[in-house]
Symmetry: C2
Subunit: 400 residues, 2 copies
Amino acid sequence: MELDYQFSAVSDRLVKSEIREILKWTRKPGVISFGGGLPDASLFPVKDIARITNQVLEEKGYLALQYGPTHGEAEMLDALVDHMNAYDDPATTEEVCITSSSQQGIDLISMLFLDEGSVIVIEKPSYMGGIQTFRRCGADMRGVPIDEDGMDMNALREVLDKLEQEGKKPSFIYTIPDFQNPTGISMSLERRKELLQIARDRGLLIVEDSPYRELSFSGEVLPSIWKLSEGKGVIMLKTFSKMLFPGMRMGWILAHPELIEKFVTLKQSVDLCTPSFNQLIMATFLKEGRMKLAIENAIACYGPKRDAMLAAMEREMPGELWWSKPKGGMFLWVRLPENVDAKDIFMKAIKNNVAYVIGRPFHCDNSGSNTLRLNYSFPSIEQINEGIARLGKTIKEIMG
Amino acid sequence: MELDYQFSAVSDRLVKSEIREILKWTRKPGVISFGGGLPDASLFPVKDIARITNQVLEEKGYLALQYGPTHGEAEMLDALVDHMNAYDDPATTEEVCITSSSQQGIDLISMLFLDEGSVIVIEKPSYMGGIQTFRRCGADMRGVPIDEDGMDMNALREVLDKLEQEGKKPSFIYTIPDFQNPTGISMSLERRKELLQIARDRGLLIVEDSPYRELSFSGEVLPSIWKLSEGKGVIMLKTFSKMLFPGMRMGWILAHPELIEKFVTLKQSVDLCTPSFNQLIMATFLKEGRMKLAIENAIACYGPKRDAMLAAMEREMPGELWWSKPKGGMFLWVRLPENVDAKDIFMKAIKNNVAYVIGRPFHCDNSGSNTLRLNYSFPSIEQINEGIARLGKTIKEIMG
């Protein structure tokens, strides 16, 4: 009898990432790519990591290469809590679960709170990897636009009112308040407080995704929603991928201990535990106080790149375009005139040896065809100058 | 308004692992534990790993600490395919997806094939971590008993016939044919062929979980079902955790390229990619030809431990007990008389400073209360002799 796969409903919802398909083009030789979301590899403290790895293997190789607790290595939990406290995000080890990447945090939250048809409220645009996981779970995503101060609170109230009329309660509100991916925009302090108040008034959970928080170029860091909430009604997602490097695949969830226990049970079924090897290396790196220096180095590298990109945009782009003025993070967000499709420009841009990512897949409702995202953390300042000149030329050609 | 979590159906199915609760007792000082499934840490090649890590960071730190492809690092895929071919399990890189642990392989397979109520067929007993993930997905598990030659094929036919009568088709048959966890039993060659024939006759998918395959003490290695099937209708799960060490959390899925593509898309939503750092270290370890030596060392360590445990069982246990005679792997399976509950003995055993895991949680239908599992890979031969003496004394006391 012919093999006949019994695929799940999840399988029906799998969509191959359009951006990942597009990114293949950026490998064309000579292309300057503003496409990915990669940190600058020249920042990676490879010598420190080599030295620390030797030390960890010599002193406790029997632990580093063995199974570890699902919750996380005690040493790592302690080091993380110290780090969080130093960055004004108070937490206890009972409020932390180590994850194998921040994406895994999104996966665990989705599994715990989402059924097919569950409603979530999400910024428009928002992180594509989040949208991908929420879509896999069959979530009904309701988008709230953002402006230069972050999520629009009036629009949020409207969305929530409409949901109440429909008799639906969202599982959570997903937000990236600091130097958001893809826009680079931060939520103002007033809006953070307002969001928390709205969530409290309506008994709603907030998921605060916070990968870029440490990368503030101006020195200004607004209190996190986690901090403002005093840990009540907020889950926070953290990762080393942006402030340090992504190759260890390590993140952590901050949540009420009652939820942490559920995440730990779920994580058992997902990967048993995050590599002890990686955890013990990172714990030593943190305990040596090297993270602060690494973050300072990243800021010193990315700030001038942001400046270079903003200056090049001013020089090269036609007046009809709008773009964000990020104060931190890795991305610039561009809005073309309504009738211009960023996808149409893309193949012309590739011909002119420059690449970006189109903005539509960052929108839960498939809108935003006239938007695109530019990354400035990975390319050099020279590449930024040359690449933005090429992109300006391409856009001017198209817009006539 | 009071915060009111909107938990998912998955959340309702979360069960805290009874065994993990029990294992806490094994940390009592003085207890000899046969509880875990841990490799012997004295086997870990810590010096090689330290040397290789230095080399990887020096030569390609910019890659090792960066994001990598979801599918896996090209270097790692090549090294794995060479390894598989050397161990008589032919595969191409298109048939491989790297996973962050073999447990993640189970997770991806479950997401791709299981909805609430989906039927799977599973050995009784079987791997507890598998059962946990299948249960999380709401699978309807139908157990097939195993005897000393592995899964009982007549019982399998009966289960499948009954399902046909119910109008249900199983999503897959899950089997651990080599030195199974928890029993240590291997499926005979005749049964492997029979299983494949049954699956083909009925158009069913087989999931072959294969963590212990390399650990054959006699030198005899039966062809895998993957090999017998020539890659058609079989998904194979592999890991380094048992043949080498678990601390890197790395495994891989072997499947038809069409399925691999779906697993890769799913994996994007789960953790984006497995650490490049860990992959490049392991790839170098494999390319240096060190895996073969590591496996030989493991066999030379675990074979005598198995012998010691079998001899101690003969010496110390009352005649009413049955236990398996594993030819490889890490576990011995014990059946007490029907009316004796392994859980009742457990606390007495702890008092006598010896621990094991109860067998019931390895049964999809909650049967097997008179069974228990003993691990011989982690304790020393001295601990095995003393621990089995203590356990024999405990059981004799209880059985009067």
